[in-house]
Symmetry: C2
Subunit: 217 residues, 2 copies
């Protein structure tokens, strides 16, 4: 119980700062999403395909969260968008305060979309509001079809599910219908896209969804 | 700093109980390993192939850790071994106290190997000693080759690395040599096996390694 009490206090403080971040985003008319998944589900690859597809049409910036290394920021920087790397040095999730600090390094004036790539972790980031409009969760076909039931909090708190590595479906033990059914059982409001960063299947639809969320000015 | 201080206290208490668990295992001559990985890397599948291979030769019991559901315990129970399911209800890792409680439900007398399958999480379980002899980390080829560098603590604290889903190598963006090099850069003492639960490649060698760790009586 001691641990839970402390955690509640930390989350309370986090939620306060998240609300301040959210107000800042609203004020600047920026659509912000928080990209979450297991390690290796393809968050950075989805990000790369997304930046490629949106290039020249929408102003995007990226905040990269990693336990260690700035590999992801290096990959993203190739797409000529502003990118800030947060290294948590062992920390298992991003929090609103880290995002507030990172925002000091990004010009918000012409920004339309901010993508936050969280630490690869299907558990802890579920409970930390960063001030984003929505959480987007990736589940890859290679992880099997039972993950929404086994890690329900993340799927419950997300608005969008990307079923990624859809091109690998013939080679893996994953029932696509079951995966969707399990996800929608946890959260019937999920918008679902099937994506592949190799064949680019689903990337245009997913990017169209993002474009539809950009506030008009 | 406040958070770190609290965390240290919790870990201190955890380490005390882990040490008691470890003494209990030594006393009963039981080899215990803690199986850790991202969600969907194949922990339960490796466990199934391992139980299948060791059946009739070594007495094995299993403690299953999951955030939610007892699916894994149900899968493991088919192999006619004692299995205890711990559901953490949102908790991101197992701790020594949960293992101590689970041990009340397992007869240790003729047991030779105890396998603890941790919650799917490549970050938090790295710091929690459960009293095991070694941590065994799984990295699947589908997760790419950079995970040891991005999540170093887990690879640093493990003794064995199973490179799983080796059969999917032709279909995924993973340089096997780079994956090994990255893992050994973080921890040069890692024993590495390449495994596939589909083709059973590497399972005999891995099981031979386990058999070699069973204390003589």
């Amino acid at each position: 119980m001691r641990v839970i009490t402390i955690e509640r206090k930390i989350l309370g403080k986090n939620d306060e700062i998240a609300e301040q971040n959210r107000n800042l985003f609203l004020q600047h008319k920026i659509f912000v999403f928080n990209l979450v998944s297991s390690p290796g589900s393809g968050k950075t690859s989805i990000l790369e395909r997304t930046l490629e597809h949106l290039a020249g049409t929408i102003n995007v910036a990226v905040i990269e969260g990693d336990v260690q290394t700035d590999f992801d920021a290096q990959r993203v920087a190739k797409y000529n968008v502003p990118v800030v790397q947060i290294v948590t040095r062992g920390g298992c999730h991003l929090d609103a305060n880290l995002i507030r600090d990172a925002l000091q390094k990004i010009s918000l004036d012409k920004l339309q979309v901010l993508i936050i790539e969280n630490v690869g972790n299907l558990v802890c980031p579920a409970n930390y509001d960063l001030g984003e409009a929505v959480k987007v969760v990736i589940a890859s076909t290679t992880e099997g079809d039972d993950k929404p039931l086994k890690y329900p909090e993340m799927f419950r708190n997300a608005s969008v599910l990307l079923i990624n590595k859809i091109d690998l479906l013939p080679y893996v033990n994953c029932d696509l219908a079951a995966l969707k059914r399990n996800a929608l059982q946890i959260n019937p409001k999920l918008t679902v896209f099937e994506t592949s960063c190799t064949t680019k299947q689903g990337i245009p639809d997913w990017c169209e969804w993002i474009a539809g969320k950009v506030p008009s000015r």
